[in-house]
Symmetry: C2
Subunit: 296 residues, 2 copies
């Protein structure tokens, strides 16, 4: 039995199980770090006592993932008050006395989708969440892209036609990076309404599809994934999918001669196969890995 935590800035989702067929979850709002981590630990203790082999955590970030780092497992420079430098993996591990696997929320979701969701059988795939913010996790040759820190895919820069879209962007660090222009926050600030309240033929969506198409173009040229999975609240507006696909094809302009793009674009840019459970299921896989690595 594994424990899983999808640690978000708005809510925590805790799960127990081994996969989609037996996963039980609860969720609660993210408040102070002490209270929220305490509630998570209490949930696992109450439900499974000592039968937990390991816990996986897929967390909002930025986080420290460097093996051997003295601050491994911490949330680092988040703007979220009270969560800077919180030792999330350490507190959960000490609280429950089990090994902990730890990665970003979107890396967790990418793992979950690769095992049980839309990316089954693929080695190279990108999972994106377009919600309040924008984040991405990438699998390259079957392994998550990590590196110096971890990808912060929401912060790439894009062409921004100020005449067509005078909105300056909402990213406190970069202004008009992808997240600054295309997150749910940007849509709400630009139009004064929440994304679900904008009708399908509202001009908001052509602008949104333009930015997401530009971002996907950049990632096709950088990561060459076999699949893009687009999740998050903004993508619940499902009419966006055909618009993004069309924009991606238009921008690539036939340069990448792959059937997946030229002939099967409807299957190349898709919603998550696991819906909202990709992250917490990915955390189950992180727990599995931690249990395996802990065997002497």
């Amino acid at each position: 039995m594994y424990g899983a935590i999808e640690a978000g800035g708005t809510k925590f989702v805790c799960g127990i199980g081994t996969g989609p067929s037996d996963l039980e979850v609860i969720q609660f709002p993210t408040t102070t770090s002490a209270e929220t981590i305490g509630e998570s630990i209490a949930f696992f203790r109450g439900r499974v006592q000592n039968r937990l082999k390991a816990v996986g955590i897929a967390s909002f970030g930025p986080v420290d993932l460097r093996p051997g780092s003295p601050t491994w497992g911490r949330i680092t420079s988040t703007p979220k008050p009270g969560w800077q430098d919180v030792d999330l993996a350490g507190e959960v591990g000490r609280g429950l006395g089990v090994p902990v696997g730890f990665d970003t929320d979107v890396n967790g979701a990418a793992l979950g989708e690769a095992r049980w969701g839309a990316a089954q059988g693929l080695e190279d795939a990108v999972y994106l969440t377009i919600g309040t913010g924008i984040g991405g996790g990438a699998l390259s040759r079957g392994r998550l892209v990590h590196g110096l820190l971890h990808p912060e895919m929401g912060h790439i820069r894009l062409p921004h036609d100020h005449a067509a879209d005078p909105y300056p962007g909402c990213c406190p660090f970069h202004g008009d990076c992808l997240e600054g222009l295309a997150s749910g926050t940007a849509i709400r600030e630009r139009w004064g309404r929440q994304p679900p309240d904008l009708e399908a033929d509202h001009p908001a969506w052509a602008i949104e599809a333009r930015y997401l198409g530009l971002a996907l173009t950049t990632w096709v040229c950088t990561l060459s994934p076999q699949l893009f999975i687009l999740g998050g609240g903004v993508m619940r507006q499902s009419h966006l999918f055909p618009m993004v696909r069309k924009e991606l094809c238009r921008l690539l302009n036939g340069y990448i001669r792959a059937a997946a793009i030229l002939q099967e674009i409807d299957r190349y840019v898709v919603p998550p196969g696991l819906g909202d459970r990709a992250g917490v299921l990915g955390a189950i896989i992180l727990a599995e890995q931690a249990a395996r690595n802990a065997v002497p």
Copy 2:
């Protein structure tokens, strides 16, 4: 003894050896495919007869790298006349009767730099060439990024301030993608002079540093490399390095809190440790891999 071919659109470099200490190379201009491949085969036959264990080829592209594909080892949709659909790996392998390793020129260079050059000991690094065109190869967790096709990093999209830089870009597919705006071809067309003929304080370089800084920003956020290696003819203007580093830091604006960027940027964006030999030395590694894979 391994054979190595760095197959470029302008010249072929053929090498024999096992590494930097014993590598012997010749080079000749790229003409027709029959003539150039023939000349390569003749070189290896003349020099080492039957003592070659395998040949590695680091090729211009796009190329087909998909294992098991019926067109594996071919140059595919290149605009170079007479080279479309040329079975480069197959012809060399049949001509010499040895296993062939095959990858892109920039992936080869990334491998070479990781083994013997600037990226030794690193698992996550990006090699870029900024010359007539722009290309990039990336190592993620010690393996080359491949995927659907292979990265075509020169074709990412960037902010383009038409008031500051009215040049429309020279990419036949995308106009003002990175290659369209920042390749040696773009510099020559924009200013009417070759890059080496533009003095160090010419405004060309601020524009060039701006585009390269934007591109590196996007790749920091996507691939999170531990190192960028910038090669190619344009980067021989070594005054560009501090300008690109400064621009990268300015654009990231403190968001990525890694010492490599915040404190050691001079060691984060560097020229190739192997100079012009990165590609052909990388092809030696591709040959090694092919010899290893061919053992039953």
